[in-house]
């Protein structure tokens, strides 16, 4: 506890404190209270960066949900032995080097890369499409990176789902869609919420993906933080940027815990 307090909570507190300080003449921190950093954040330039991060993270979350739900559902219905195998298959790439896995997408997405070559070979396009260094590339990279975050909690929820409930709905003449919407989805809700949260949080603060796959004009909050800390060396402003991100994340987390707590009481 003391360890985590010293090296986790204290540093976070420090970010908060420094975000109210001024920048020293040669970088560093001048210990004078000011609200300038937060005022500077209201510049449309920065607001736009936050907005695009939130939009990209939301799109990533939705795509992960659309792709992850059938996958989790499929896994949950497999025989137990195969469930374990799929589980491992999903988890292995998730725990392997994120940087390198993102780098691999450059091969696929660039104009002379695999995707364009294949599409041109089969005659679908005559000219390479520009994907790399656009928002589309960031989106692909984020979905790719965080899909397991969605699948695993969904699977955990769907695995516990009682099949006989779905059968009962079918016996009562519910169509496939209404079985899904009125039986499976409500029961999988905790998994959906957890998965969305687990995808949204790292996506909104992503740095590697937009840095490698995004272009110069496609900054996300993560890039801005890195830029302020390591390039401009304006630590107080960088702290303010980070703290707003942190506040967004904590708000989401708090909402989730509250929601989870309530459904627990209700049960």
């Amino acid at each position: 506890m003391a360890w985590m307090g010293l090296f986790f909570f204290l540093p976070l507190l420090l970010v908060f404190v420094i975000s109210f300080m001024m920048r020293g003449t040669y970088g560093g921190v001048e210990w004078v209270f000011s609200l300038d950093n937060y005022a500077a954040l209201l510049d449309p330039l920065y607001l736009r960066i936050y907005l695009r991060s939130i939009l990209l993270a939301t799109a990533t979350t939705l795509l992960c949900l659309i792709l992850g739900f059938p996958l989790a559902y499929y896994m949950a219905r497999l025989p137990a032995h195969w469930q374990a195998v799929w589980m491992v298959l999903i988890m292995i790439p998730f725990w392997t080097n994120f940087l390198v896995r993102t780098y691999a997408w450059i091969f696929i997405l660039r104009s002379e890369g695999l995707l364009n070559t294949v599409l041109m070979e089969i005659g679908l396009i005559s000219q390479p499409i520009e994907i790399l260094y656009t928002d589309a590339a960031i989106l692909i990279g984020l979905v790719y990176g965080y899909l397991p975050f969605m699948v695993l909690p969904l699977y955990a929820a769907l695995e516990r789902l009682d099949r006989s409930l779905v059968e009962a709905a079918a016996d009562l003449y519910a169509t496939g869609w209404s079985r899904f919407r009125r039986v499976i989805l409500p029961l999988a809700k905790p998994g959906v919420a957890a998965g969305c949260l687990l995808v949204f949080i790292p996506s909104v603060g992503a740095f590697i993906t937009p840095d490698l796959l995004g272009g110069a004009r496609t900054m996300m909050v993560g890039n801005l933080i890195q830029h302020e800390f390591l390039v401009v060396r304006d630590w107080p402003f960088g702290s303010a940027v980070s703290f707003v991100l942190m506040a967004m994340v904590m708000a989401g987390l708090w909402g989730y815990l509250r929601w989870e707590g309530r459904s627990w009481l209700w049960r």
Partner: protein
């Protein structure tokens, strides 16, 4: 009808799995490509692996990564184990609160941790270097170890330790000779996972590294950014295969324990 729909679901699932593995396969394939530009396939070669092995800066980075990985794993394992065991002994309300706080590092964006640790070390006048990276990784990994060990601890029968106590063992003896041996598989799993996370981490190292403390992912990043040598592909392939193996072994030791990370 139902069957057809299920096949559709299966198709999506297999597609998703291919989506997860395709880039890795492409990368490994291209690490054997005999071309300087690495864009087009020009025949099979293993020479980039040779180039990789003669790069001194690269070998130094591998050494740094191993040192950081080993040290941070030792610290994280001891602290994570302690946290898991003491949580188990706390009351449920307090335990839940403490647990939620302790797993927080797992859910906040990594970049926050990097930034916070950097500011902390600079303010405390600790020079940035291997030590600060090690501490950073240990902070990241304490909750990982804790969650994995706890998943196993919860499944243990409390009667076992009680029986040991009835037979005259002190609490420490009961823990040392009954509980701890039963936890060993999950501890091995946690150790491997913590080590892999440390070996793979880029963000925290990026912020807490100083001059001369380049770890492997930092080296990979600078090579990707400068994009000069195809040896980067060979290096990436090795890195991916090594971490996949470590994780596979770790999951095998934990059995289903790894899922616990997502049940929280």
């Amino acid at each position: 009808m139902v069957k057809i729909r299920f096949l559709g679901v299966q198709g999506v699932s297999l597609g998703a799995l291919a989506f997860l593995y395709l880039p890795v396969a492409v990368l490994i394939a291209f690490s054997f490509n005999d071309s300087r530009l690495s864009a087009v396939w020009q025949g099979f070669t293993i020479r980039w692996y040779g180039v990789m092995l003669t790069d001194d800066a690269l070998l130094a980075a591998i050494g740094n990564s191993l040192v950081v990985g080993l040290c941070s794993t030792v610290v994280a394992t001891i602290l994570g184990l302690l946290a898991a065991v003491s949580l188990e002994r706390m009351g449920s309300a307090r335990g839940r609160l403490v647990e939620t706080t302790l797993v927080l590092p797992l859910v906040i964006p990594e970049i926050m941790m990097g930034v916070a640790l950097m500011l902390f070390f600079v303010t405390a006048l600790v020079p940035l270097g291997l030590l600060t990276i090690t501490i950073g990784h240990a902070v990241m990994n304490v909750p990982v170890v804790m969650v994995i060990v706890r998943a196993r601890l919860r499944k243990l029968d409390p009667k076992l330790e009680e029986a040991a106590r009835d037979l005259g063992a002190t609490p420490w003896q009961a823990f040392r000779r009954v509980t701890l041996p039963l936890l060993v598989p999950s501890i091995i799993g946690a150790v491997l996972m913590a080590f892999t996370i440390s070996l793979d981490d880029f963000i925290v190292a990026f912020f807490t590294a100083g001059p001369g403390s380049t770890t492997l992912p930092l080296k990979v990043y600078s090579m990707v950014k400068s994009g000069v040598s195809p040896a980067i592909n060979a290096l990436s392939a090795v890195l991916i295969v090594v971490s996949m193996l470590l994780i596979a072994v770790s999951l095998w030791f934990q059995r289903k324990g790894g899922v616990a990370l997502f049940r929280e």
